[in-house]
Amino acid sequence: MNSDTNNSVNEIPLIEEFQKKIDRDEKIEPKDFMPEAYRKTLIRQIGQHAHSEVVGMLPEGNWITRAPTLKRKLSLLAKVQDEAGHGLYLYCAAETLGKSRLEMTEELLSGKAKYSSIFNYPTPTWADIGAIGWLVDGAAIMNQIPLCRCSYGPYARAMIRICKEESFHQRQGYEIMLTLARGTKDQREMAQRALNRWWWPSVMMFGPSDKDSPNTETSVKWKIKRHTNDELREKFIDAIVPQAKKIGLTIPDKDLKWDKKRNNGLGGYAHGKIDWEEFWKVVKGNGPMNNERISSKKKAWDEGLWVRNAARMHASKNQSTVVAAE
């Protein structure tokens, strides 16, 4: 299974059997046969997902020391710790496909690997922490729930664990927004400004529009993906709009309107035009915080060197003591 171009002729029956398994909704496990392209797609997707969880700790970590109350500080700490855990579950899942942890770390630090662009935006106020929990985690949940049924066993299992933990994140964020929205005029405005900043980047989190998303079809066939980007994006908007209304905040999209014909007559929101130029600019590394995020990660990695070395040294010393005692 080391051909990285075309599948060899004798793999054809295996590939057919693989696809049948997926069509029967059976899971693929690490030691099962899988086409090289399936393996590569998963390594890329799970790796990006893991990196996103890990980089996602940075914009929020920024507010841990300045959280307005002890209760909020505890919640934020727990949330950031969860993100670290989620990153680790996902790195494990990617490792079962033959990619080493060190390689993934190096790719993140060198900028070779991507992570979600949303984390390249700054968090200038406390309300941004609310907006991230409510919108960014909200969008992430929308994306992640279908992944719990992904065809690759270890990824699906990691996602089930993540989704269970993630729902507190969105509630935590919404509660921050709600508290600000019910507060003083300044606090309300702060909440509204944060919503204005995070709305479009959150809507873009679902990725390019279906017509510009050429990989979707294969991923759907392999049951890595169960819905298209646009389907999930619309579902997200339909869920968030009433939540914003409930706390008296305004979605910054003047073209947003209810369309009763959508979703087979159940209705849904039509949204305004998405600025894809901005999306690609941030993806390509020119967002407001791209450099900052990667240099923070590099700094943490470099400064952790002595800890990693000490742990290794300690382990090898103990190892020799054990051997001597035996």
Partner: protein
């Protein structure tokens, strides 16, 4: 001081939810030794009262069968006499 360019060992983590249940696999972690492995397993897989006991074992110490040998390892279809439904018992005997 230069860094060794390789990962620390990978360990599989098992958690026992409570007495009476078996330890169940929940994922893996990297650690340099067994104490660090238990600590990492606790930090990563036990943040919400998931259980009462953790096992960690080096992934490379696990011996596993090949899923392609499922038929040889898990033969069942040809030994139907190992299942209770193979045996005919009159209905009026009741539950057995």
């Amino acid at each position: 001081m230069a860094e060794e360019k390789k990962d620390t060992d990978l360990w599989e983590v098992f958690i026992q939810p409570k007495n009476g249940l078996s330890h169940r696999h929940c994922g893996s972690i990297h650690a340099s030794d067994r104490n660090m492995a238990i600590l990492a397993a606790r930090n990563v897989y036990a943040r919400r009262g998931e259980g009462q006991s953790i096992w960690v074992v080096k992934s490379k110490d696990i011996v596993s069968s090949d899923p392609n040998e499922k038929a040889e390892n898990f033969s069942a279809d040809d030994k139907i006499y190992r299942h209770p439904t193979f045996y005919d018992v009159p209905d009026d005997v009741g539950h057995m």
